[in-house]
């Protein structure tokens, strides 16, 4: 362990940001298979998931712990996964087995596959089995079909503003849930829209720059692969409002695979789906569901555990697969 740690320590740090190219690439390489990346005091440490049991419990422990799940696509029944209820239950089992129980769950959208009431009902029922009782949501494009999100708002966004955006504070961390799946324009990407951006500017105006910020939305707020619509038109404006903060973490779903990118003080992260995997950017004709051998499926699905340690300026984002 000590030897491994020494290897991961930074040798060249040209930008004085605690991240060197080698360390970053190492983290990127592992992100696809399940990685554990911790940023402590601006220092990026990465471990592969197979080594996670060796990581000291103290390093994992924080002020606040929550789990991100995404893209449960309840109602999907095609060959890529004929049992999405079963894999969501497996995700709940995984959450309940975590050493540090999460305080709440955060679902980054595509709860349902076709916005049917019974699909939402099934997800709500399965998530009741999690030890963490509170679940916060943002909608995916599959949750707002046919009614511009009216049903979604009635179910999950009664306290929210506009099309379902909101913010809340937990243990000194400011959480912001954004909606970028409505009013999409022909040829375009995800969209936040003027009204939401104005709200965001106002929402963070009075916060101290030392406040850790966690932003979550369905479609990535960074340009993952615009050719497949994996990005948000006006995310640049949203990120401009967050520029002055020392620690910003952006959590997204939509692309059904884990990916991470660090830009200045902002860490971008996408979670795996609990339903079916999608191909890596540009590695297939389309971003449609990827059929893999049944025994491999659960290794490509997963949950994301996030831990925040006050004072240490640390946020640990841990992806773990379902099997």
């Amino acid at each position: 362990m000590t030897e491994q740690k020494a290897k991961d320590e930074i040798v060249y740090d040209h930008n004085r940001d605690g991240i060197n190219r080698r360390g970053f690439l190492k983290c990127m390489a592992w992100a696809g298979t399940g990685a554990f990346c911790v940023i402590q005091g601006g220092v990026l440490k990465s471990y592969s998931l197979s080594r996670i049991s060796e990581v000291a419990a103290e390093e994992m422990k924080g002020e606040l712990s929550f789990v991100q799940i995404s893209d449960s696509h309840m109602g999907f029944n095609k060959p890529a996964n004929p049992d999405v209820a079963g894999t969501l239950r497996a995700a709940v089992d995984k959450i309940n087995a975590l050493a540090t129980p999460p305080e709440f769950l955060l679902h980054t959208g595509d709860i349902s596959h076709l916005s049917k009431p019974e699909e939402f009902d099934t997800v709500d029922q399965i998530l009741k089995g999690a030890r963490a009782k509170d679940v916060v949501f943002v909608p995916g494009e599959h949750d707002v079909l046919n009614d511009d999100g009216k049903q979604y708002l009635e179910r999950y966004g009664k306290e929210a503003k506009g099309a379902g955006w909101y913010s809340f504070d937990k243990k000194g961390v400011h959480f912001i849930g954004l909606v970028n799946v409505l009013n999409l324009k022909a040829g375009g990407l995800g969209t936040l829209g003027h009204e939401q951006l104005e709200w965001l500017e106002d929402d963070v105006k009075h916060l101290q720059t030392s406040t850790p910020i966690i932003v979550f939305a369905h479609i990535p707020l960074w340009s993952v692969y615009p050719e497949w619509g994996w990005g948000t038109e006006d995310s640049g404006q949203a990120l401009a409002y967050l520029k002055r903060f020392g620690s910003v973490t952006v959590l997204n779903g939509h692309i059904h695979q884990t990916m991470q990118k660090i830009e200045g003080n902002v860490t971008f992260h996408t979670a795996a789906s609990t339903a079916f995997p999608q191909p890596q950017p540009g590695k297939a004709d389309s971003p449609g569901p990827m059929k893999v051998p049944a025994e491999q499926l659960r290794s490509l699905l997963g949950i994301t555990d996030v831990n925040y340690v006050r004072g240490k300026h640390a946020l640990a984002v841990v992806d773990s697969s379902l099997g």
Binding site: S115, L145, A186, D285, S286
Partner: protein, 121 residues
């Protein structure tokens, strides 16, 4: 045969020929109309997150049917509001009859990178 005789015969025969001609033409028109009705249909397939063909050119009065052959739902939404389908799950269809000439761009409102157009002549 003198020229005058020939002209006389022509004058006698011409109405008969014209009448027969009209009769045949009429029959042909009826037959053509019967064939045109089923011909005024066109299809667009949704495959691999794209509409095929990308540009469909049709005559006014043609009914276009879209079929979703993906494992993911899509929609067919006109950019200028002329038509809008409900969400189409796998193998579901949507039809719209184009009555006026013009260019109709459309897209999938769930995956807006999917764009195509119908040209009505």
């Amino acid at each position: 045969m003198t020229l005058r005789k020939a002209a006389w015969r022509f004058c006698l025969a011409a109405p008969v020929v014209i009448a027969l001609g009209l009769l045949f033409a009429g029959q042909r028109n009826v037959r053509a109309n019967q064939q045109e009705k089923p011909a005024a249909m066109a299809e667009v397939k949704i495959d691999n997150f794209s509409f095929g063909p990308q540009t469909l050119t049709i005559a006014a009065g043609t009914t276009v049917t879209w079929t979703n052959r993906d494992d993911i739902p899509h929609t067919v939404v006109s950019t200028d509001g002329a038509f809008k389908s409900k969400v189409l799950d796998t193998d579901e269809k949507f039809s719209y009859t184009f009555t006026k000439a013009g260019t109709y761009p459309y897209f999938c409102s769930i995956h807006p990178k999917m764009t195509a157009k119908v040209v009505v002549q």
